[in-house]
């Protein structure tokens, strides 16, 4: 039977993960693709999945009545997309729209959480990596607020 394990192992977020853990995560994973302009998720929707981007580019947007969609950031190849799944009430707080043809691995978050609960080694490894993603995003966000080119 074909498995997604090699594809998972090739993504920077999961690289170096033990194969039994990759096997667990592969049970929660599926391959998805989005055409340019297609919404990956929309503000207010229930967050059921998070994504590891393999190719392409996705814009994170906030929609305003007066200015329309404002792009806050873009994510691309090798990036993690969607943190809202981790905290209750598990709803997306912004829009994500594919800019280019985008291929990603979608993870059913309740399945991932179940595996993390059942095997705390996997849970710890997963959360360590997730913390890096969060810390990096916060660092970038702070810089964006500073207006580095005007400073």
């Amino acid at each position: 039977m074909e498995t997604l394990q090699p594809i998972l192992a090739a993504h920077p977020f999961l690289s170096g993960l033990e194969s039994k853990h990759l096997e667990n995560l592969a049970e929660c994973a599926s391959l998805v693709s989005f055409n340019p302009g297609q919404m990956v998720y929309t503000e207010g929707q229930t967050a059921t999945h998070f994504y590891l981007i393999r190719y392409g580019r996705v814009a994170l947007e906030i929609h305003t009545a007066r200015r329309g969609a404002i792009t806050l950031a873009t994510v691309g190849e090798g990036d993690f997309l969607g943190w809202s799944w981790i905290v209750s009430p598990h709803r997306w707080h912004i829009d994500a729209r594919a800019i280019d043809l985008t291929r990603a691995i979608a993870f059913d978050f309740s399945c991932v959480l179940r595996h993390c609960e059942a095997d705390h080694d996997l849970g710890y490894e997963f959360m360590k990596r997730f913390a890096v993603v969060l810390a990096q995003s916060l660092r970038f966000l702070k810089l964006q607020l500073v207006d580095v080119y005007g400073a």
Binding site: R57, A59, G68, A69, I70, T71, L72, A73, T74, G76, E77, G78, I99, D100, Q136, R139, F140, L143, Q144, V146, D147, V148, Y149, G150, A151
Partner: protein
């Protein structure tokens, strides 16, 4: 395979008569962004070819107003035309902005150290620029592209506040179409018509492909941007001695006499403006006095 030879430090170049201003005539002016323009200059009296190394600067004199240090942003292989990209921020740069083709300004130089482009042959090259920082690095890009086969991967990472603030837009588009190096562009904010990256320039560094142990990085931009860029590059494993930055301070003489541009033990005009990061790490984050 090319051995990983240590990259020598750049040396300052001393023009023959450093205090003498030469008249140069403006041949062309191109508006890059609302406040930034590029001048193409030629010696007013058909003087000798102008040779410089990427990263060096000239002191440009607006007659009767004053003199400012401005990096050379043209192709070092073209010794007939001198190119400068200038942002009009104050007295002298605004006076230069008012000059028209055919008018003359004074040029003293070239001064200062250079980007170690020739010295980095055999390495992967990563260039990270923010805003006006592309101007002093454009000569280095020309030189690398002219000797492309001598380098490994070449990644150019460009950041700006908005798409309208990107320098050399057409040239960036042409570079993006080439197969022999990768150009990444990110802006802090943009409308929906922008189909590229949004985010600070440092977000692109994790995506660049290079072998950190055999990579030379050249960085230029505003102080905050350079500090965070260097952190990201170090985090990716590039050695501090292989990361080069260009520093700015107010200048007067441009040749190490007046002390105006001192940074720790260095005079930026003569020991810099290009420094290896390990050389100036201690003074890098110092706030300008």
């Amino acid at each position: 395979m090319v051995p990983n030879a240590p990259v020598p430090r750049p040396h300052p170049a001393n023009p023959a008569v450093p205090m003498l201003t030469q008249p140069f005539q403006i041949r062309r002016v191109r508006q890059e962004t609302p406040d930034t323009f590029t001048l193409a200059l030629q010696p007013a009296w058909g003087a000798a070819p102008f040779c410089f190394l990427p990263g060096q600067f000239n002191m440009l004199y607006a007659f009767g107003v004053g003199e400012v240090p401005i990096s050379i942003s043209g192709d070092p292989a073209n010794t007939q035309t001198l190119v400068h990209t200038i942002r009009a921020v104050g007295t002298v740069t605004r006076a230069i902005q008012k000059l028209k083709p055919g008018q003359v300004l004074g040029v003293r130089g070239p001064f200062g150290s250079h980007w170690p482009v020739a010295e980095a042959a055999g390495h992967d090259m990563v260039i990270v620029v923010g805003g006006l920082g592309l101007a002093p690095l454009r000569p280095a890009i020309y030189q690398i592209l002219a000797h492309r086969a001598e380098y490994g991967n070449f990644e150019l990472i460009v950041g700006a506040r908005t798409p309208g603030d990107l320098l050399y837009y057409k040239e960036l588009e042409q570079w993006r179409g080439r197969f022999d190096f990768r150009v990444h562009v990110a802006v802090d904010s943009a409308g929906p018509e922008w189909r590229n990256n949004v985010g600070v320039v440092t977000t692109l560094i994790p995506r660049a492909r290079f072998d950190p142990w055999h990579t030379t990085a050249l960085v230029c931009g505003p102080g905050v941007m350079m500090r965070f860029t260097v952190q990201e590059l170090l985090q990716r494993g590039i050695k501090p001695e292989n990361i080069y930055v260009s520093m700015e301070r107010n200048m007067q003489c441009g040749i190490g006499l007046c002390g105006h541009c001192q940074l720790g033990p260095y005079f930026i005009c003569k020991d810099g403006p290009v420094f290896a990061f390990d050389q100036i790490e201690k003074w890098f984050a110092l706030r300008e006095i």
